[in-house]
Amino acid sequence: MLNVKDLHKKYPNGTHALKGVSFDVTPGEFLVVIGLSGSGKSTLLRCINRLHEPSHGSISFEGNDVTHISGQPLRTLRSNVGMIFQHFNLIPRKTVMTNVLSGSLSRTGILKSIFGLFTEEDKEKAKRFIKIVGLEGKENQRADNLSGGQQQRVAIARALMQNPKVLLADEPVASLDPATSHSVMQYLKKVNEELGVTVICNLHFLSLVRQYASRVIALKGGKLIYEGQPLEIDENWFKTIYGEEAVEVTID
């Protein structure tokens, strides 16, 4: 459903973050991207929903070339691709409900959204997703007063409001403690298995990768150096991906 071909990204400051990355994503899989900090993982995800402009190469989504679209077609693409972030990126001072409803902005008129007039259908839906991520009863609490794990679950509910076909997760558990990390990963797994949303997720910890991924790709210095099953990553591959001196740290 998503094909990335020879993708390059060069930032204005000269950093060459991606150097010809190609891969395909099949519907329903849980694809995990691993690699060191600075290997281009975040850039890769942000190129898919075009928060960053690719410099070269092509991305196609469901058969349509989306590499250089703009305006309404771009917003339609983004509404089909949900995203969650390392630092949650919730709207400060707003309630859980408003935050989740903001996921439906792309199908709500500008004036209606400014006056907070979301449809009854969307409100029902928001409540349902809040329940799915286990935050029932917290609809009217301020989202920035919740714990980190709860905030990330609000972010998942917000992304689900878009009815996404693909969910991009950029280091979703990197600012969370181990127990909370597993809880958030389990919700992502649930979204993937029960709602059938394809997930592309950047992760640091290999133990999480082995537990949740259905397929893994690894980036190093902006290049794709590994593609395969999570359990196939042995000592040698680990050292290739993370460098000779790296020692695996587990999270449980």
């Binding site: 917003r75 972030f85 990126n89 919730l90 439906s104 500008i110 959204s113």
Partner: protein
Amino acid sequence: MTTLVQDALPGENKGAGYKKLKKTVRAFGIDLFIWSYMILASWKIIYEKIFIGDRYATFTWNQPLIALGLGALVTLVLFFTRVSIGKAVSGLYESRPERTVLSEPYTILGYVLLIVTFVSGIFISQVSITEFLSASGLHGARRIFTALFNPNFAIIEQALFAAIETIYMAFIATMLALPMAFVIAFFAARNLMNGSKLTMAIYSIVRFFLNVSRSIEPLVWAIIFSVWVGIGPFAGMLALWLHSVSSLSKLYSEQIENISNGPIEAMTATGAHPIQVIWFGVVPQIVLPYLSFTIYRWDINVRMATVIGLVGGGGIGTMLMQYQGLAKWNEVGLLVIIIAAIVWIMDYLSSKIREAIK
């Protein structure tokens, strides 16, 4: 090893030498200024006051030049010892482990500099204990304080109306400043304007005008506007308005510069329209700080309005000026009480409101 590096990077080495030269020149300049200043102050202010007894120091233009010449001589002699403040400030001294910074010769010179300035300041401000405690002076003070503590309540009606004028004048100045500052702030926010050279040029021009208009006191603007539109609250309002526009623009733009990019990124990623991105990603981050700044500004404007009234800006300040001119101290006493009450109430209310909306 070191020579290897130096051979490999001749350009960098040259740069270091140039940097050191620049620092030395700057250090010399600082020393020259300090010594010339100390010579001039000790000679023209301290020496002449003590030994000649001149009440006011009189200057001719050749005296600073003489001080400069002497200062240059002293600097030349002492620049290569450890009493150079310029070298200390420029970081040209190696620190000595056996001495603390506080006991270094240049620090001691710093103390001397402070003492010279303090003594000169006492003389220039004409500080005089005898006049402060003179019998006739104390008698006058007692007369004024007695009157002030016996306020004349006969004018309370007029005084309250003048106070209301002051509060409303400050409110309108704040309200009219708000929309202008709101728009200007976007052009004065670096993170929104650093996209291209053109926008950076606009940013610099806007910032320049904001800084200039802010550095001219509202008191001065009030004088200008009282000539322009006539003495009265309108002139005072205009003065406060102009100053508020530049202050609020600066505060607002700093707030915009501090917003986090996360919510903006998240809203963009949902496929929202750019206007929705601003409404949901930017506005929630700025609206409360804006409100807080604006209320605080109103508070400041009420205080300033009183002072501006003294130069013809209307309101209770103008009234105070009139009674003070007539030496009607009982009336002045009432006005002072009312002003203090307004300032206290505004201060209390604005801090309570700002706390509540945090």
